[in-house]
């Protein structure tokens, strides 16, 4: 587990009460209907996922809490949380879940729902723009290095148009909007 800064006060043992009127009871069904949500309600809150996470000690909402929040219907809090974007996607949590909940994959689904509502970190949005306009994440800047190794200067076989064409009809275009 990665080191954290020195604690500034006593550990928080009391949390704010959940406002029942703000819960969205359909949220769990929404996640369950997505590609990785089938086992969601099997979670029995053992927090093994949190114990396995290398960075959860820095998170306000831990992985097991996020899963519980989904089950409770705390849609707004989950989709607005930084945590879903801070997830390393290392799959340590999912791999250890005794109930086979696809924790990491569910966070991917949450990010998609958040993005649909325009909630996406600036630097991730920049990558979306890069993919839509350039059709690739990395571009060759030092082709002499490739030539030194006896390789052709451009990335072999790469079609940038394919990505651009496909992403024009999907959410990426909507996210980037008129900025391309």
């Amino acid at each position: 587990m990665t080191e954290t800064d020195e604690p500034t006060g006593p550990p928080v043992t009391l949390i704010d009460a959940i406002d029942m009127s703000k819960l969205d009871p359909k949220f769990r069904e929404e996640i369950k209907s997505m590609p990785n949500g089938e086992e969601l309600s099997a979670c029995f809150a053992c927090s093994t996922c949190t114990a396995a996470c290398p960075t959860a000690n820095m998170w306000k909402y831990k992985p097991h809490q996020l899963i519980r929040m989904i089950l409770l219907g705390m849609r707004e809090e989950v989709l607005s949380s930084n945590e879903i974007w801070l997830c390393l996607t290392c799959y340590e949590c999912q791999e250890r879940c005794p109930q086979k909940v696809r924790v990491t994959d569910i966070f991917f689904d949450c990010k998609n729902l958040a993005a649909e509502e325009g909630k996406i970190p600036v630097n991730v949005l920049a990558l979306a723009k890069e993919l839509l306009t350039k059709g690739q994440l990395y571009t060759v800047t030092a082709d002499w290095e490739r030539e030194d190794m006896g390789l052709e200067p451009e990335v072999p076989g790469l079609s940038v148009d394919a990505v651009k064409t496909i992403l024009k009809d999907t959410r990426t275009k909507k996210l980037v909007g008129g900025e391309e």
Partner: protein, 288 residues
């Protein structure tokens, strides 16, 4: 001779032409014919998956469908590409509804995902198709037992039901070169590369944790099979000198560079001079 489709991605050819060249030469040594897939797209991983699931599925299904045309398995040297292709392959194999939907889109280009060409990591193909015995037979300059720490990379190992990669594959491949594998506590942990766009400090801290754990366990070299992990562990060592005042001096080599040297290739063949932390000390550990 076995033929494979090669999906090179965009990070290896841009950031690690030495990894690419070493892989091609190692493949040649074992009679593996690698054909670069033509007209394929960047996998977008894992960022694209995070904000545009359908776009990510389509882009990768298209690559799989192009490989289906000749039916040869796909090999890739990148964990990110491997994860995207393997994950999408897994989804399409198990989800008829999505497969129909995606195939409708691909039909516009005259393509169809059939699932005949399987996406595989290059090192897994080395292990399962060539095999440790054959590899050992061709080693002419074995390493002298020097300690190498393996950084597998998350997306090679997990989720295991999707990746189907076992840690012992890479462990035995490293041992086949004559090196010894250094076990270290954080062997399964993430290098931090994926979180770079959202929290750079955290990414650096994770790389530091890894390097520290390897160094303390007595590793002399590190091996990787992913350009993103390679970048984190190799290049970040220069940054750690500035941010933490720490010098790790742990050369990070792509596995085909190590195997290539043990097969008798010279340092130019595997592009040793392009490694950020000078990797030439490994030459002192090769027997003649």
């Amino acid at each position: 001779m076995t033929t494979y489709n090669l999906y090179i991605g965009c990070s290896v050819p841009v950031n690690y032409p030495n990894y690419e060249a070493a892989m091609l030469k190692v493949a040649q040594a074992f009679d593996m014919e690698l054909i670069y897939l033509e007209d394929v797209a960047c996998c977008g991983s894992p960022n694209l998956r995070a904000f545009d699931h359908m776009g990510w599925m389509t882009v990768n299904a298209r690559t799989l469908a192009i490989a289906d045309k000749n039916g040869y398995d796909i090999v890739t040297p990148c964990n990110g590409c491997f994860a995207s292709l393997k994950d999408v392959y897994h989804h399409l194999k198990h989800d008829d509804e999505t497969r129909t939907k995606i195939n409708k889109i691909l039909k516009k280009e005259g393509l169809e995902f059939k699932g005949t060409a399987k996406p595989r990591h290059f090192v897994e193909a080395l292990y399962n198709d060539i095999g440790i015995d054959e590899i050992k037979k061709k080693i002419t300059k074995p390493l002298d037992g020097v300690g190498i720490a393996i950084h597998y990379g998350c997306h090679l190992l997990r989720p295991a039901d999707v990746t189907e990669f076992k840690p012992e594959y890479l462990q035995e491949l490293v041992e086949a070169t004559g090196a010894s594998v250094v076990e270290y506590p954080l062997w399964k942990q993430c290098c931090g590369a994926t979180v770079l766009p959202v929290d750079e400090d955290l990414a650096i801290r994770l790389a530091r944790d890894k390097l520290k754990s390897m160094k303390e366990a007595g590793a002399v070299f590190v091996t990787v099979v992913c350009p993103a992990c390679g970048n984190q562990l190799d290049l970040q060592q220069l940054g750690l000198k500035e941010s933490y005042g720490e010098i790790y001096n742990l050369p990070v080599l792509a596995y085909p560079q190590i195997l290539g040297l043990a097969l008798g290739l010279d340092e130019e063949d595997v592009g040793l001079s392009m490694n950020r932390v000078p990797a030439n000390p490994i030459l002192d550990h090769l027997s003649d």
